[in-house]
Symmetry: C2
Subunit: 322 residues, 2 copies
């Protein structure tokens, strides 16, 4: 059996050599960061629990990817550049094959974003993974949830709903071909954090967040914190490539309420439409205009004929769902 | 049933109002910190798992205290001043009475150290608490594990072994009177992070760490990373007030290997003895000189008659213990 220190060393310590930003990494009581003068530090923590956020038999490579991706996505939603992260996890057993794959999935995504593992903690227990991530951004440039303004366009990156569709297929709520299921499942297992887009939107977008629990519910947080309302053009929502082939009703339901997409939803003045489209190009990320911020509170859903749609929306909540 | 957002808001959000250091707290994708120019950020993550780090029926007030205390202790061991922390936890159920007590224990210690809750995540699952803490300290003043030097004195704060003694009494390995058991258990449940001492030791001590797994094993990390060895004066080790009344053998075993003490072990040149004692006074923390750093690697144990002691030492390891 590997000891706690062996575990950290063997799979993760190679990744933690000090550099200019990182004065001290894994292996001391604390890691030490040297902040860049004039920059703010953005910080986010996410905990992923076996059986709730992922299947107990999840592929460890994909799981490693996803754990970091959801945290990178929080940085993207603020417009922050990744610096590093801490990893604390409990494991039922120290399985070397599992750990090696988990570390590969995690660290390959970390490398792609130059985001360093700077500290950690391992313990025995039910599988539970907690990552705290650090990024930086120029002072007062953060894309906050409370910054939407009346008349702003609402935009979304990439496409929505395929992750939820994959889950529906696992649950046998819908039938998908094997290849469609795999394609949709990739959106669930390997979300793409929109870091480059988030950085490109600094100074252009007003409010932003990442969609983890479903567009309607997450947009609701922007509306609530900004004290405003919105109309969404439901049939303009960019459905994932597999979801596109499903019924109108399913498309609407899953683009509006499907969780696990990790796309950015953001607002910006109509005068900046060309800049938004340019930011999408430079960051190689599709962007779609999907609605409008309004003074009247509440969320209104509109179809292609400008007619209101009545739907019951269920956002994902870890304590309210069965 | 409370929703995830309600939970965070009701028990924790009052604590997260922005101030000069904290540009944005709980409720957005990330918290934002404004680093003080010229300072480094110290970061540490600890995960506490039910049934391993605490009893499943642990008093939630004491548990809240302990979860933050062990993280503050990591800051103390670097000489860092606390700034803030994130709290991610999974809970089997959203029990308001439990949460209220947990928050009280956690936030009262946070207030005492002016350490703000800046972000969090809650989810449903086996009870698991992950805190990531942030502190700051002047550049190049950190008390690192790899900085011990030949001839350094070895010091320890406070007293050792009562937490381990309380555990031994729970396990019926030793018999204690009810009042002794309660007194020892307080050391296990409510460790005192040695923040003021850590700060007072900046520029005086060479190496430092906090004792979580037992003095002998933890000092071993300083020795390994510094490439040196040491002699410990075993009968000089300051036993806790309850452990003092136990047999010599138990005193030696538990002061050397008892975990959960969260005292600081640090090294400093013999020329700074008066400064160390002054640092103990200004921080209102007892300090005891317990050994010496030497060139020959390995840890040697010496009794009051300068005779070597032979003992089998078992350090605590989450994966190696049954």
């Amino acid at each position: 059996m590997l000891s706690e220190f062996d575990l950290i060393k063997r799979y993760f310590a190679h990744h933690s050599a000090p550099d200019a930003m990182l004065a001290l990494g894994v292996g001391d009581d604390c890691a030490l960061l040297n902040p860049t003068p004039g920059m703010q530090i953005a910080i986010s923590s996410d905990m992923l629990v076996s059986g709730r956020h992922f299947f107990p038999d999840a592929d460890p490579f994909l799981l490693g990817h996803k754990c970091l991706a959801v945290n990178l996505s929080d940085l993207a939603a603020m417009g922050a550049k990744p610096l590093g992260f801490t990893l604390a996890f409990s494991l039922p057993e120290a399985n070397p094959a599992w750990l090696e794959q988990f570390a590969r999935g995690l660290l390959s995504l970390a490398d792609a974003h130059q985001c360093r593992l700077i500290g950690g903690d391992t313990t025995k227990g039910p599988l539970n993974i907690c990552i705290t991530i650090f990024g930086e951004l120029p002072k007062d440039s953060a894309l906050r949830r409370d910054a939407a303004q009346i008349g702003d366009d609402i935009w979304v990156s990439g496409s929505l709903g395929d992750a939820r569709l994959a889950l529906a297929a696992y649950w046998k709520e819908v039938a998908l071909s094997e290849s469609d299921h795999q394609r949709a499942a990739q959106r669930m297992h390997q979300p793409t954090p929109r870091i480059a887009l988030g950085i490109a939107l600094r100074g252009i977008a007003h409010a932003a967040l990442d969609i983890s629990d479903g567009l309607a519910g997450d947009l609701g947080h922007i509306l609530e914190r900004s004290g405003l309302g919105a109309t969404l053009f439901v049939d303009q929502l960019p459905a994932g490539s597999v979801l596109q082939q499903q019924t109108l009703e399913l498309r609407r339901q899953f683009t509006l309420t499907g969780g696990d997409d990790y796309e950015l939803c953001f607002t910006a003045p109509a005068s900046r439409r060309a800049d938004i489209i340019a930011a999408g190009h430079t960051s190689n990320t599709p962007v779609t205009r999907i609605g409008q911020i309004e003074a009247a509170t509440g969320l209104r859903l509109m179809d292609d004929q400008q007619q209101p749609i009545r739907m019951t929306l269920h956002s994902f909540d870890h304590f309210s769902t069965p």
